[in-house]
């Protein structure tokens, strides 16, 4: 699930200004952002912290504020998909302290031994986590992960161009053929088609999957493209008027073009939650815990979600959102489903998705 975004991650403006002046003259020796005057470091913390997060999935000032408050220097890199993250982690050699996998990846990472258990005593703000995200099946007792943000997959559409699409069927019935898109992700596309026929989006049943494949091929015939988050720009510009998309990304597009609406189809859809985890190779555990507790603060959590458009797993932060993202009701939850790792069925799913592409 690529990019859930915020605005630009502007660390410290004065650095940027200085940097822009030096842009033309920048020589070879300058490795990282020039640091301002050294800040006093909070006692017991390491000097550095390495974070690997989804691109644009944090507040514009979150990192800067953490650095100001603690004196820790954060190295912040981003990725575009869970696969990219897992690839880097399993290849070893990516020396990060914290990263943000989606729930269904947690068991895999735990099984591979790349996660380090959290020390809850150092996370007093953990009490702010909403009950919905406590003790999830993928991480019993929240041993490894601090719940971060959550979202749902639905349909973004241009109100002026199409009527509210109530069902995944709009991708099959010829509506605005050539001007709609689905995500470039087999789990999302086949999952939506499975829900459309009343099945679980984690199905491993050969017959159900065969039907989903056939539906996906029908849909492909009417799609402009399989494209995930990059579709936002095309929605805003009006190239595309119906798109399978996540709620938070849709909100970001709405900020540019209020004509965009969002709906979760009545057959139900995917809900996901991302967890911040500490890696087994973590070399800055104190700073890592300090950062985790920092983002669990109501003000910080709210700042992040206001920027990304996604729901926060932080109940105290959720109350402070400028543009609230309400937690799903029990009735809505009944229609929403978390992804699980497909295990051996991964091969079958990959084959079907390849068949859809090759059709």
């Amino acid at each position: 699930m690529p990019e859930r975004r915020a605005g630009a991650l502007s660390r410290r403006d004065f650095v940027a200004q200085a940097g822009s002046a030096a842009l033309a003259a920048a020589g070879a020796g300058t490795l990282l952002a020039a640091c301002g005057a050294p800040r006093p470091r909070a006692p017991g913390l390491e000097a550095e912290l390495h974070i690997y997060n989804w691109s644009d999935y944090i507040g514009p000032d979150t990192i800067g504020q953490f650095e100001e408050e603690t004196g820790v220097t954060v190295t912040y890199d981003t990725y575009e998909s869970n696969e990219e993250l897992v690839g880097k982690l399993l290849a070893g050699g990516a020396a990060y302290d914290l990263c943000v996998p989606t729930s269904y990846v947690l068991p895999l990472l735990a099984a591979k031994g790349v996660l380090a258990p959290l020390d809850r005593a150092r996370l007093p703000n953990f009490r702010n986590v909403a009950p919905l995200f406590l003790d999830p099946a993928v991480d019993p007792g929240n041993r490894f992960g601090v719940p971060y943000q959550w979202g749902v997959t639905g349909i973004a559409y241009l109100r002026s161009q199409v009527t509210e699409p109530a069902s995944w069927g709009v991708f099959l019935d010829g509506t605005v053929s050539g001007r709609k898109t689905m995500m470039d992700d087999g789990r999302e596309v086949l999952g939506a088609m499975l829900r459309h026929r009343g099945h679980s989006l984690n199905s491993t049943d050969a017959a159900e999957l065969a039907q989903a494949r056939a539906d996906a091929v029908t849909a492909k015939g009417q799609l402009a493209a399989f494209v995930s988050a990059p579709v936002k720009g095309q929605l805003v510009a009006g190239d595309v008027c119906l798109a399978q998309l996540w709620n938070g990304d849709t909100r970001q597009a709405q900020a540019e073009n209020p004509d965009i609406g969002f709906v979760v189809p009545r057959e139900g859809s995917l809900i996901w939650a991302d967890y911040v985890v500490m890696l087994a190779g973590c070399r800055h555990p104190h700073a890592a815990h300090a950062f985790l507790d920092f983002i669990l603060r109501p003000d910080v959590g709210a700042g992040i979600s206001d920027a990304t458009g996604y729901g926060t797993a932080n109940a105290a932060a959720a109350e402070r959102l400028r543009n609230p993202v309400p937690y799903p009701t029990a009735e809505e939850l009944a229609r929403l489903e978390y992804q699980v790792d497909l295990g051996p069925a991964t091969a079958l799913w990959d084959r079907l998705w390849t068949e859809v592409k090759a059709a």
Partner: protein, 294 residues
């Protein structure tokens, strides 16, 4: 003194000196090009790890799987697209090379302008194509402003867009070798043909084209091979609706978590590369021998 002594000893031992010159670069290429490919080859015959990676064991199942009609279809599509790219590059590239070779003092500038896009970031190139081809892109806007169009043409996310993107990246590889062989062409031959009464088209077909075929062959290889591994262009310009081998490989190391199969598919691409390069080397050497012969 010792320095001179060392040099004198080196001068006396040409093999050692050659080794010292050749060694570091060759070693680097062995360590970071050959060895990685060897690892790729090893992975391609191992067993798939459930969560990615590989498990020990020996199997040829991944190569057998490549023969599955589904993957053969992707292979065929890749080869057909690469061939089409090569053909279009030839049809566009040959006349361009001819114009450059005969453009006198403009030659350097024209050459530079052909090479420039190659050195430009592939991402920037691809984004430029998107910017041009989108429904609300530059081309549609321009055509509408000129009153040629009412409704936008769907140009992006088509096979045509994929081909255009592939040709765009590969064209310089075709133009340069053809230009080089046109440069070497002895004008006396053409004058002789003209003197014998051959018309322009006949002169081209009987003299120019045959003598520049080595350039065409080299250009075709340089276009065909890298195109086999394309994966950004089919995704961004083709709307990810079809796969090429590159996308298949990327998928296996991504969501499908099947590294050995991905390795086998990579090696399939690599063996095509190797075969093509060896073929070209043999041709080139025979050509060189033939030229140096008399």
């Amino acid at each position: 003194m010792t320095r001179r002594g060392l040099l004198a000893r080196l001068a006396g031992r040409p093999a050692l000196r050659t080794g010292l010159l050749l060694g570091p670069g060759a070693l680097w290429l062995v360590c970071f090009f050959v060895v990685p490919l060897a690892i790729l080859l090893a992975y391609s015959v191992m067993r798939r790890g459930a969560y990615g990676g590989v498990e020990p064991g020996f199997t040829l199942e991944h190569y057998a799987r490549v023969l599955d009609p589904l993957y053969l279809g992707i292979l065929r599509r890749t080869v057909v697209l690469s061939l089409a790219t090569t053909a279009i590059c030839f049809l566009l590239g040959y006349p361009t090379a001819l114009v450059i070779a005969r453009s006198g003092r403009w030659r350097n500038l024209l050459l530079f302008l052909v090479v420039l896009p190659f050195w430009t970031s592939a991402l920037v190139r691809t984004y430029a194509m998107i910017f041009l081809l989108r429904d609300t892109g530059f081309l549609n806007a321009a055509l509408r402003a000129l009153g040629v169009l009412r409704e936008p043409l769907h140009l992006l996310y088509t096979e045509g867009a994929v081909l255009a993107g592939l040709v765009y990246g590969a064209l310089p590889f075709m133009v340069l070798p053809i230009y080089a062989s046109l440069e070497k062409l002895d004008p006396v031959l053409l004058e002789a043909a003209e003197g014998l009464g051959a018309r322009p088209w006949a002169r081209f077909r009987r003299v120019t084209l045959p003598l520049t075929l080595p350039g065409v062959a080299a250009g075709s290889l340089l276009v065909f091979i890298p195109t086999l591994g394309a994966f950004v262009v089919p995704d961004l310009l083709g709307g990810a609706k079809q796969m090429m081998l590159g996308n298949l490989v990327q998928n296996q190391f991504g969501p499908a978590r099947n590294w050995p199969f991905g390795s086998a598919a990579s090696f399939l691409v690599m063996s095509l590369v190797l075969a093509a390069v060896l073929l070209w080397l043999r041709r080139r050497d025979r050509g060189a021998l033939a030229r140096e012969g008399p």
